[in-house]
């Protein structure tokens, strides 16, 4: 569950990225965040992951008030979150296996367990044959899927994706979004920031449109209600 109450985010240089934002996303929901460049999409995701701290208001993630999460607790907090980026950010000098396994190594899993889970995650994105390749030898779409595998390998409660399809052709973008939907179906809360309004509309999920740090429109709420009943049941 994600709840923003009157949240303001002003960067150190005075940029007001979010203004008085109110937002509720139920556990297990799938939400697209859209808006023009500079609207505050990335900022919203950064606040959820405690990469930056909001300057006013209250944010509650899975029952945890972010104001109460001390800096030395941030790493543990982030282990419940998975990340995806437009520029996938894989480590070029590590194999696909090492890249995908990183969140598990961080969490201190044993090698057998890591191997098992990495294989399962790569299988899910149909990249198991590439497990020992280096990112350099993969196509852009494949690299992006390795990024997806890394984002879910540690079974996060929340998956945050910032422009995950920015570099992909329409077909691959669609596949990637469908992949996210599959993760959402097993209970992961998914937040995706994206420019691609046409595609998002076809996906029939809740869409939050930001403009200059405020919520402009909300669309597709029925999905959220469904998710809420899931949560209580």
């Amino acid at each position: 569950m994600i709840r923003f109450t009157n949240v303001n985010m002003t960067y150190a240089d005075g940029n007001e990225a979010l203004r008085n934002l109110n937002l509720h996303i139920a556990q297990g929901a799938m939400v697209y965040i859209t808006g023009r460049s500079g609207a505050g999409k990335s900022t919203l995701l950064r606040l959820i992951a405690l990469i930056d701290r909001h300057t006013r208001g209250q944010i509650i993630i899975n029952g945890q008030n972010l104001d109460r999460v001390r800096n030395n607790r941030i790493p543990l907090f982030r282990r419940h979150i998975g990340f995806m980026f437009q520029d996938h950010r894989l480590l070029q000098d590590r194999t696909v296996f090492d890249n995908v396994g990183l969140p598990l190594v961080i969490a201190g899993y044993r090698h057998q367990e890591i191997r098992k889970r990495v294989q399962a995650a790569l299988d899910k994105v149909s990249l198991l044959p590439k497990i020992n390749s280096y990112p350099m030898s993969l196509s852009g779409g494949e690299q992006q899927r390795v990024g997806v595998a890394r984002a879910v390998v540690h079974r996060p409660a929340i998956l945050l994706a910032d422009e995950p399809t920015g570099n992909l052709d329409p077909a691959l973008s669609w596949d990637t979004m469908k992949l996210f939907e599959q993760f959402n179906q097993v209970g992961v809360t998914v937040l995706i920031a994206s420019h691609d309004l046409d595609m998002i509309k076809r996906l029939q999920k809740r869409i939050i449109t930001l403009k200059s740090g405020r919520i402009l429109t909300h669309a597709g709420t029925p999905m959220e209600k469904q998710a809420q009943t899931n949560e209580t049941g």
């Binding site: 543990l76 282990r79 990340f83 950010r89 480590l91 961080i106 299988d123 899910k124 209970g187 992961v188």
Partner: protein
């Protein structure tokens, strides 16, 4: 999609917090053990990973270690040299003795009786008579000037008596008085007492000791700087990795661990290289020193590092390596934020 495969995927994607709730209530003890195991595992991973980084860039790792090794070997070998000199001088310390050069007219028999007579003096503990012929023979044997000495018709050396003063009497004025008394005797040409240069040697050793301390400190700072800079570079080379690790919940200690271990490896290898350098130098010096010692009729041998000092040397390398990387990590990891 086959049913079995799908189930597998469901398990994969189950969120973390749900899994935790369903976990049977683990006892405090087993939780503690789990955490300890994890801690040990992560240390082992960092340990091996940092060693792997060494193997990956063998040349640059070796160069850095070699610079550290030389920086450690310099003060260490000075200390060793110092130790050896002090050892030699301490053996002189107990045998303060006066050398009496007799008049050339005194023949061997007269000299021997004179030596015996001296023993009666209450300030004298012992006397040793060295015949001029024996002195010459020994000198010829050891000095390598045999031919030159043979060319002389006459033995140029006088008879010599070594006088050991009564031990409880060696204070400055008493020895001075004894020398005056001995010098006044008609049989004696000259009496020589080595206290002055011995004292000078002690002062000199003290100065050398301080120079070594200053030098060691400077070189230790140098080692810290080298290691700190090397670690700083590798932190910036692995910036992307650090950012991603932070983003996926790596704690500061998790992130800094491989860098600390790298520092440890640099220090350890540097220490081992220093140890090797000193060992090789020792082997090179052993022969000549032995010959020199023979010249002084001494069975002195170079004192090596020994087990304890070898450990100390490598340990110092490790400590400096850890400390240098720790400083660097504290300074530079903070600059890196995720995303």
């Amino acid at each position: 999609m086959p049913e079995r495969q799908w189930k597998n995927k469901r398990r994969l994607m189950k969120p973390v917090n749900k899994r935790k709730n369903t976990r049977p209530n683990t006892s405090f003890k087993s939780e503690l053990k789990r955490r300890f195991d994890m801690w040990l595992l992560q240390h082992l991973q960092a340990f091996i990973f940092s060693l792997g980084q060494f193997a990956k860039y063998p040349l640059s790792s070796l160069l850095t270690s070699a610079v550290i090794g030389i920086s450690l070997a310099l003060p260490a070998s000075f200390y060793m040299l110092f130790d050896n000199v002090r050892f030699v001088s301490s053996s002189w310390d107990g045998s303060v003795q006066v050398t009496l050069f007799l008049q050339t007219e005194i023949n061997d028999e007269q000299a021997a009786t004179f030596a015996n007579k001296l023993k009666d003096n209450k300030n004298i503990n012992e006397t040793t008579f060295i015949k001029r012929a024996d002195a010459l023979a020994e000198y010829q044997k050891l000095s390598g000037f045999a031919d030159a000495l043979n060319a002389l018709d006459e033995n140029p050396l006088p008879n010599v008596i070594l006088v050991k003063p009564e031990l409880n009497n060696i204070n400055e004025s008493d020895t001075e008085a004894l020398i005056k008394e001995l010098e006044a005797m008609p049989e004696v040409d000259a009496a020589q007492y080595d206290s002055q240069w011995f004292k000078r040697l002690l002062y000199l050793l003290d100065i050398v000791n301080r120079v070594i301390i200053i030098l060691s400190t400077l070189l230790a700072v140098g080692v810290l700087l080298i290691i700190g800079n090397t670690i700083r570079l590798s932190i910036y080379n692995r910036r992307a990795e650090i950012e991603i690790t932070k983003l996926f919940g790596g704690t500061d200690s998790f992130i800094q661990r491989p860098f600390l271990y790298s520092g440890l490896w640099y220090g350890a290898f540097g220490g081992i290289i220093a140890w090797l350098l000193i060992g090789i130098s020792m082997q090179l010096l052993r022969g000549p020193v032995k010959q020199l010692a023979n010249l002084y009729a001494s069975d002195f041998q170079l004192i090596g590092l020994g087990f304890f000092n070898s450990l100390l040397l490598v340990g110092t390398g490790i400590a400096l390596g850890l400390f240098g990387s720790w400083i660097s990590v504290k300074r530079h990891l903070r600059d890196i934020d995720p995303v």
